[in-house]
Amino acid sequence: MSETRGRLLPFYIIVDVSASMAGDKLDQANQILPDLFDALVKTSALQDKVRIGLIDFSDDARVLLPLADLVELTADQFPELSARGGTSYTEPFRLLKNQITSDVAQLKQDGYQVHRPAVFFLSDGAPTDTNWQQAFTELTAYDRESKTGFGMYPNFVPLGVDGADERILAQLIHPKDGPPDRRSRMYLQNKNKASAGEAIREMAEVLIASVVQSGQNAAAGGSGMTFPAHDDLPDGIEEFDGEDWIA
């Protein structure tokens, strides 16, 4: 391509809507997009280049908001999360891979360059299916040398509250290794200090700070996504990187 129309930063938010999420947890999760909207409007430089998508999952997974320019949405276009059924991890991983593939293809066809997508994956329970590891590998494995695997693999940030299995969520941190500024993170509810709903609200703050800082980093020639400094973390959640769980 001779020239690029622009350069975009895609973020996907994936939310567990299994029956146990009903109530305060989903109420807080439903506040993520409006809060993110406010943050984008206040951070003028970001509005043009951030794209947000929302996927929910239970026994199946659904695209509630296709990758969109959030600040262009009207209030009635903000999707509402509501609880249903069990907890399949396979379904959202497969759906996400398809979404990323088609979204990136579409944006490139529209003349844009696309930064590596970032995914925030919120769950409050262990998966009820068994094949999720394979689906996750298909979503994230890529060999730079041979160019085999999924080249558009996302940076994956698991967020866990209540009954989420931290051993399982830790396997979803991607990339796990590499230089410190490239490694992804996991955020878990600190059950001594916060309820699940409070933790979700604080995770939303981390998510928003990460979107805002990643936007700045991308403009300045940085690589990968950016997370808020450890000292700035709210009390109700704890942060881990891949190496914390290697043992």
Binding site: E72, L73, A220
Partner: protein, 445 residues
């Protein structure tokens, strides 16, 4: 008693000396208007305190060079209303603004420019609600608070997006780093325009400009040296790295030119020196100014590109240029047919996922040094630029390339050049730096 008198006498003497010093300073103070307040900013119903330069002479006269009685009335011409601000450009700028208005009006390149209408063109209207119908309807009080930009949007290439209108931030932290620096003038047969301006992203995040440039001479004025650097990443200090790279780099080039010709410069040695200098500067930073997690290799990370040009030739001669590039800042020749000729490797756009990653000093990757010895013929121009301009330019064959090739087919006036380098184009919000050198066939007017 004598000791007391002595102390009093000393104090009095010191005060008198201080007063004399202050008086001298005040007397020699030159009242020069803030350059940011000239040319681009509106002065309706006012006289200009400064004459704008023509294309071939140094661009700026200081106020005291003009007779007090001189009244320079604004030139009648197209009036560009940008956001809520009226700009009355001088004749030189008017031409460029006409083009800008055309580009705005049609949302495309210069190919479709028709005749300029006699009546002033309808000013482009900025209506935030029409730009963004969703704004204000969601949950936010902040919504709808779109303000006009600080200095208007002088040139739009393609689609502007919201950010050029919405980013209004003035300050940066740390304080005291100018948003924009610019230079213009003539050296030998070469007409030079240079601008380094903070991008919308850094304005919005109140970060200083991380780009820098340096103009220098070597070989007793026979060589003209340009350095451009682009500080990388989130480090609070990369603007310092960029500043060191261009100044120290130009100095090292100048020193080598005492012994060798431009095509014999040992660029590896220069990069090694710059790497050491940047690491040493980082080590000297007070601990409280440096985040503990910052790695030395990232703290002041910066790209660097240098060009050495023959400046001792006559107008009309083809000049030799030696270029050395480390990182993703780029060099281009604008050939006589308005064709952009990349003099450094163009970024690979074949990747599925794009990355802003680049090699950067103080890290040394010898294979990443790109050296090119080439020529610029009469009526051609050389441009060194940071990726804030280089990336949207792509390989030069698109809309951005067409517009800039048209505007830069001859040297623009200084402030027009600054406005052009700051063109608005959706999502392109990095710092912008361009040093342009026109090898003019004729230097007389």
């Amino acid at each position: 008693v004598t000791a007391f008198h002595l102390i009093v006498a000393c104090l009095l003497a010191a005060i008198i000396l201080a007063l004399i010093y202050v008086y001298k300073e005040v007397r020699t103070l030159k009242l020069v208007p803030d350059k940011s307040d000239l040319g681009l900013l509106p002065r309706p119903n006012d006289e200009y305190g400064v004459a704008m330069a023509d294309r071939n002479s140094p661009p700026l006269y200081e106020a005291q060079d003009l007779p007090r009685s001189a009244k320079l009335t604004p030139v009648e011409g197209p009036t560009l209303v940008s956001a809520n601000r009226t700009v009355v450009p001088d004749a030189e700028l008017a031409e460029d603004y006409e083009r800008a208005v055309h580009v705005m009006g049609r949302g495309s390149g210069l190919d479709d420019i028709g005749p300029v209408p006699d009546t002033p063109m309808a000013a482009p209207r900025l209506d935030p609600t029409s730009l963004n119908p969703g704004r204000g309807k969601a949950s936010s009080d902040a919504a709808g608070t779109v303000q006009s930009t600080g200095d208007g949007v002088a040139l739009i290439i393609g689609e502007a997006g919201l950010a050029p209108y919405a980013v209004t931030d003035l300050l940066s932290e740390p304080w005291g780093h100018p948003d924009t620096i610019l230079d213009a003038g003539v050296i030998g047969p070469l007409h030079v325009r240079a601008v380094s301006s903070r991008g919308l992203s850094h304005r919005s995040y109140k970060r200083p400009r991380q780009d820098s440039y340096c103009l220098a001479s070597g070989n007793s004025g026979g060589s003209f040296i340009i350095g451009v650097a682009d500080g990388v990443g989130n480090s609070p200090d990369s603007h310092i790295g960029a500043s060191i790279a261009v100044r120290q780099g130009c100095k090292l080039v100048s020193q080598q030119l005492l012994d060798v010709a431009a095509d014999g410069i040992d660029w590896t040695k220069i990069l090694e020196n710059l790497s050491r200098t940047i690491l040493a500067a980082h080590a000297r930073r007070p601990a409280e100014d440096v985040a503990s997690s910052t790695e030395p290799g990232l703290a002041m990370a910066t790209t660097a590109i240098f060009a050495v040009l023959d400046a001792g030739l006559r107008p009309g001669d083809t000049i030799g240029v030696a270029i050395a590039s480390y990182g993703d800042s780029s060099a281009w020749a604008l050939r006589a047919n308005r064709h952009w000729n990349a003099l450094t490797p163009v970024k690979d756009e074949g990747e599925e996922i794009t990355s802003s990653k680049t090699v950067a000093l103080p890290n040394l990757v010898p294979a990443a040094l790109a050296v090119n010895n080439c020529t610029i013929a009469a009526n051609e121009a050389l441009f060194l630029m940071s990726d804030g301009v280089g990336d949207p330019l792509g390989n030069g064959s698109g809309e951005v390339g067409r517009v800039l090739a048209e505007l830069w087919s001859s040297p623009p006036s200084l402030f027009a050049f600054a406005a052009q380098v700051g063109f608005a184009r959706r999502t392109w919000d990095d710092d912008r730096t361009v040093v342009g050198v026109w090898n003019r066939e004729k230097t007389s007017k």
